[in-house]
Symmetry: C3
Subunit: 206 residues, 3 copies
């Protein structure tokens, strides 16, 4: 199994765990856990594949459905062991983001897409699942949380992958680098408060 495929499975699994944890905060039943786990785990890849006119990953390979279902069952029976579900969601989401951005950018590079499209596919694949999770469950989207790096991590990771490929790196090395840069930036933002200057001249009036 190539590193790219492995990162894709890992991202689906870990995003599914975050979806199930959000379901536990909403006190849903086990099918609700599986629903949010599937939406979160498979949302990004499905968007990527639809945009690139490919068959969605989970239609081509049913293993993905087993993975998200397994993640839902696991969380349903173990979430109470966590000290803080919110912290677990944040950190698992950071890991999953790295894998998903790598898978998204890697697939687009493999298809020979130009740089701009590779960057957007990295961002879209990385962010869509978590965004769908948060919108449906009516939580504040992580993507738009003020004063934290999120989309920026996906953008920087994808860019690192493009540059590495240009410098002659193999697809596997590039994908690993994308994941590392994305996760590293996100971790720095969560622990050390790394951020970009936000637009602050005036808060909205209404």
């Amino acid at each position: 199994m190539s590193l790219l495929v492995l990162l894709d499975y890992a991202a689906v699994l870990v995003f599914a765990l975050t979806g199930a944890l959000v379901a536990s905060r909403a006190q849903l039943d086990i099918v609700g856990f599986a629903f949010l786990a599937g939406l979160t785990g498979l949302g990004g890849g499905t968007l990527r594949d639809t945009l690139l006119n490919r068959t969605p990953i989970w239609i081509a390979d049913q293993t993905y459905l087993a993975v998200v279902t397994g993640a839902a069952v696991l969380v349903f029976f173990t979430a109470h062991l966590l000290e803080s579900r919110m912290r677990a969601i944040l950190w698992l989401d950071a890991l999953a983001l790295g894998g998903a951005v790598a898978a998204g950018a890697g697939v687009a590079q493999g298809l020979g897409q130009p740089v701009g499209v590779v960057l957007v596919m990295g961002i879209a694949t990385g962010c869509a699942g978590g965004l769908a999770r948060d919108v449906v469950a009516n939580e504040l989207p992580l993507v738009l949380k003020q004063g934290e790096l999120y989309v920026t991590c996906a953008l920087a990771g994808s860019l690192a992958g493009v540059l590495a490929t240009r410098a002659g790196a193999s697809p596997a090395l590039s994908a690993g680098l994308v994941a590392l840069v994305t996760i590293g930036l996100r971790a720095g933002s969560l622990t050390l408060g790394w951020r970009l200057p936000v637009y602050r001249p005036r808060p909205p009036r209404q």
Copy 2:
């Protein structure tokens, strides 16, 4: 007209009625009624067709557009006759869910998709229209309502269809069974409080 096509039209019509009723709660004009009716009635089938790389039903056959528009006009002029619009939305949604799940699972089975994909297509086709309606209109999504069966009904219905087909049932018989099981479970949940155990160890903190 086959039973499958009939169930599809019925689901589109009845989901469109629920969309228009939500529009009446939001006090929109008649075009707003048609917009929400179309989004709700056609959302699930459009998602299914996009994922399966088929032309969306309403592009292939414009009758669907006439159906949702008619539903919007009907509700605009008669919604005040209902004693409780919320009850009407709940029950019409249950009926539409049954038809849409049958249509989604049936189409996937007709394409020879494997079991997992059939189940997901039943769920996605059944739930997407109502979910889009509730997210856009900012109502609490029925899909995620605590202590009620919803996605579970779609899953059980789709599963019944798969088993019936394996046992030799015709597509029409399977589709009818899917609708019956889905609607029956949802009705039992609405009237008798049928439910699965929900995750309850701890409510969320924040």
Copy 3:
């Protein structure tokens, strides 16, 4: 460059400005500006192209990505010069709506789609970007604002285009007419209070 393509670029640019302005109200960083600018500017066209099974505009032509990024940068550094960002969002959104409806209806007409599909594509292309912007940023969707014409403008504009084409108008003339009718109606609604009767018999109970 044909008028249709020009209207498409203009709509993407101006919708992107509204997305960036919403980002400034949410006090995001510059990558957040670009994210909301891209979602708003490209959302409608991407939906249209996915439904019509075409390659999304920004994959076929990367200029679009440069346009939305440029809009985000421009707004990040100049939004504080505006007296009212909310007014700017409303009016830019009206202009973008006109261009996007023209582009959506025009593409569908160019593909020889029947009338119903042309109208829906005009509405979907015009409304999807702004709707995604408002749902993700948790603002009240303009599409559903009570007592204002919005979807109605898109419908009337698309209809004008269909009638003009039937009367022998060139694609460019039709597209111009679509934009004019859409923007004119929306402007009349914003300044003179033009509206359709809303459903008012009873407000919702819950």
